[in-house]
């Protein structure tokens, strides 16, 4: 995997659920998405981002979860973001 721009972000995960996931993946020698390091670095921001994502993707709305994921996937495709 390519190294990230900011080594401190990668090497300094803060205590929280994402950091636990990183440690589990690392100790199993498994590959994992590097966005986890961003989630692990600023847990305060991650909590709110997670709550927002959960509400907009799973909250009460006539759009089905499948259609919402399709909108997210289409936008990410347009932004050239494969993950």
């Amino acid at each position: 995997m390519k190294p990230m721009f900011l080594p401190e972000v990668e090497s300094n995960p803060q205590p929280g659920p994402t950091t636990d996931l990183i440690h589990i993946a690392q100790s199993a020698g498994a590959e994992y998405p590097k966005i986890w390091h961003l989630f692990g670095y600023r847990p305060q921001a991650t909590t709110h981002l997670g709550a927002f994502t959960h509400e907009i993707m799973r909250g009460d709305c006539p759009l089905s979860s499948g259609i919402r994921e399709l909108i997210a996937a289409f936008t990410s495709y347009r932004n050239d973001c494969p993950f």
Binding site: L6, P7, E8, V9, L38, A45, N79
Partner: protein
């Protein structure tokens, strides 16, 4: 006119927050962390980054609201905010903030536009990884807020920009 019926009298993102309180809460809390959580970037620097990105996205409400807050943090210096929006490389700000604004500007165009040279320049001007990280997150989040505000054509009072800004 907003694309969907929103409460009258609530400008920009305020009308959207009232329309959908469930998403408003985490969006407000995220903005609060980005702009106010402890860190090496000053509140004025963070607001300037948010204002610059919003102005590059041509988001009237966000650049006006956060430009005013930035000016407040900078001792009422509205001219400095205007200078940053017009040409931050020539504005009276630190070389570190110029390097961070260059990164923010590239995030505004697209995340992949941030190059190793941009990160290196910021480091050479004394920026820490945390400052670079927070700059990218502020820039990315404000691109989202800007698109949210303008994607639904929210209303905002049009007489707020200073005379200098209109000319």
């Amino acid at each position: 006119m907003p694309h969907i019926p929103l409460a009258e009298g609530l400008p920009g993102i305020r009308g959207l927050f009232a329309f959908r309180p469930e998403t408003a809460k985490p969006l407000c809390e995220l903005a609060d962390v980005l702009l106010h959580a402890p860190g090496r970037l000053t509140p004025g620097e963070r607001e300037l980054i948010a204002t610059y990105v919003s102005s590059q996205n041509d988001c009237y409400y966000c650049q006006t609201a956060h430009g005013a807050i930035a000016a407040h943090h900078l001792g009422g210096n509205e001219q400095l905010v205007l200078d940053v929006k017009r040409d931050f490389e020539r504005a009276g700000i630190s070389d570190k903030l110029k390097a961070l604004l260059a990164i923010a500007g590239n995030v505004q165009i697209g995340g992949k536009n941030v190059q190793p040279e941009d990160v290196e320049r910021a480091r050479q001007q004394g920026a820490t990884d945390q400052e670079i990280h927070d700059t990218v997150l502020i820039a990315a989040a404000f691109c989202m807020y800007n698109r949210y505000v303008d994607g639904l054509a929210t209303w905002a009072p049009q007489d707020v920009l200073t005379q200098a800004e209109r000319t």
